[in-house]
């Protein structure tokens, strides 16, 4: 059956918006890579060292690039709600990074968080603010959990049943802490 004109236009519009989202995502962090690294060094634990915080910044970049706007989220149990993932956070992140002064300082970061009126770390990075989303990305992850507890809990790793009755093994300290 030939496609109706209206359907064809909707289809083209859909392609256009998907392309925009895709091209935006692949562009992250664009010319803000240095700012993102500086930010990571400032808001993540110093024990990770600069190499460690750079690595987290790189993982965050990949995370943002692989973000799928509109993907279905968990629809919940008990209180059901079908909710798609919010739009790509890239545009907001880029403008928020661009608004930060370089060289970056703690006061500027705190001022940006206060201005955005953010009270706590979000559950997931979904575009509210690049600073707290980057913090959430790291601090709510399994790696930070291990760092906090100084133990190889490896919350998100399939670890086998053996040895689970024992205290988790000590967490190998980052290079800087070992030194």
């Amino acid at each position: 059956m030939p496609m109706r004109r209206r359907t064809a236009l909707q289809w083209l519009a859909g392609i256009g918006s998907s392309f925009r989202a895709w091209s935006q995502s692949t562009a992250f962090p664009g010319d803000q890579a240095a700012t993102l690294k500086e930010l990571a060094a400032l808001v993540l634990p110093s024990s990770l060292g600069r190499a460690g915080t750079d690595q987290i910044a790189a993982k965050f970049e990949r995370y943002v690039r692989e973000y799928r706007p509109g993907a279905d989220t968990e629809h919940g149990y008990g209180f059901t709600r079908v909710r798609p993932k919010p739009p790509s956070p890239v545009a907001a992140y880029l403008s928020q990074l661009a608004a930060l002064p370089m060289p970056l300082n703690r006061a500027a970061v705190e001022a940006a968080i206060e201005k955005a009126q953010i009270k706590d770390l979000p559950r997931l990075p979904e575009g509210q603010n690049v600073i707290t989303d980057l913090m959430s990305f790291y601090f709510r992850g399994a790696e930070a959990n291990d760092l906090c507890y100084q133990a190889a809990i490896q919350r998100e790793t399939c670890r086998g049943l053996a040895g689970s009755s024992k205290v988790p093994k000590p967490f190998p300290k980052p290079i800087k802490e070992r030194a």
Binding site: L44, K119, D120, L121, A142, R155, S164
Partner: protein, 529 residues
Amino acid sequence: MPTIESDVCIIGGGISSAMLAQKLSELRPGISIHIVEAGRKLFDLENRMEHRRRSLAYGENAWPGDFIADQPAKGIISRTMAVGGSAMHWGGTCNRFSEEDLRLKSMYGLYTDWPMEWADLEKYYCEAERRLGVSGEPSPLPEDARSQPYPMKAMELTYNLLELKKWGEKSGLPFWSTPQAKNTVPYDGRAQCIRCNTCAICPTGARYSPDFTFKQLLAANKIALHDQTQIRRLSVEGAGTKITTATGVNRATGQPVEFRAPLFILASGYAWSPHLLLLSRSSRFPNGVANRSGLVGKYMNGHEFISAFIEIDTKLYPGMNETHALISRQYFRCKPGDPYVRNDLRIWESAMDHEPRLRAKSGKLLLGDDLLNDWRTRAQRGTARVRSYYDVHPDRNSALTLDETATNKFGDPLPKIEHRLDAATMARKGATKQHFQTIFERLARNDGAKILSTSEGGYLDHPAGGCRMGTDPSDSVTDSYGQAHDHENLFVVGSPTLPSAGCTNGTLTFVALTLRSAEKIATQIPKHA
């Protein structure tokens, strides 16, 4: 319209359907069993590790495509409509009910008795545990005696649970490992659990899900599975009372389709089973089929729950195995004459109040080392998540009705569930709350514990009912085997038949009842089949 004929037509493709089809194929080898399910097949074990990763990282649905957009319903607790049903993402908890659940009227003068004996049900519990593959530690209470051991040894308690057990038992209450449909050794062609900590999306198949059973049955040509096919009506042709056809539509193609069989089994769960019976109204059956009693969709039930987070002076390591819990069945029994309350009692590890935070209590922003140090200081103490399911009884008008204001894309009214508790349950609410406050305080007496918060569930969990079983056709929809009083060739299996939902997880009971039904259903299949 294409017509598909079989010896048995099972409507619904969840855990009850899988267990029923498996057992029928054993009891009556060679018969044709057709299963019709509105949702999609999600037989993609190979993708589950990636779905799990995206679920953890992004909060995406770990079971993409497991719901039907135009089938929402008010009052349901899960949107899942797929082959395997809710048991694709269940936690695998396999607690049994207790004899008291079947004797509410005769022991306590409350609500109603179930039309079967405990000893009869108990043997089907054993069978359900064997078929699902349950690993468990037997309850130490003599009232929980079992006629057969668990098929697999219990899941090893993590360091966290061992610490929580020590703490919990200082209150004088015994706790042990919760039985689960998770493999502690390789079992039934499925792998041993490797503790991925994401049982809702088990990436290895160590936690039972019905897709494994369906795949085995399909590979052996023992069933035909029609997924994305929604049954919209059951019909009785002629002057008799037998259901003759199930008419539906293939959601993928939009084509109508008709199923004919000597036996129809409704295995569509607590919501969609009574819903289909009500939808099947006609001039001869203006209130739907199987509904001479007017009780289809009535006595919808479930259990209420209450939770507490209790901080203790013990270091725990959140994330070791968050879905495994301790259980105590200490309160499954209530002495006749005492104020009535029956509940389970579970303890999990938790990170509540020990998660990273952006601001100190004073409101000061925490960044980098400040945040980590604040988190480490708070993480010196552990948190127990404590929860009880407790027994409540439905009012007759605890109901699923057709919501004429909301329809799916075919114009069929969707279900609306409104739970109501009976007068006796409502009258003891205050005493029930006090009972739980006493338990939480009793636990909190040890190890410098502090109750951080308590909360009530706000909905009935593990819902059931809508086609309750009984001996009196004026007071029930089916007999104890799920055979409809009004239509000799129509059975309803699993959760809809429960008169009440007990005080612990329901799935094992749904399966046990289904396996019991299977034996009667097998005798009803014509000999020539």
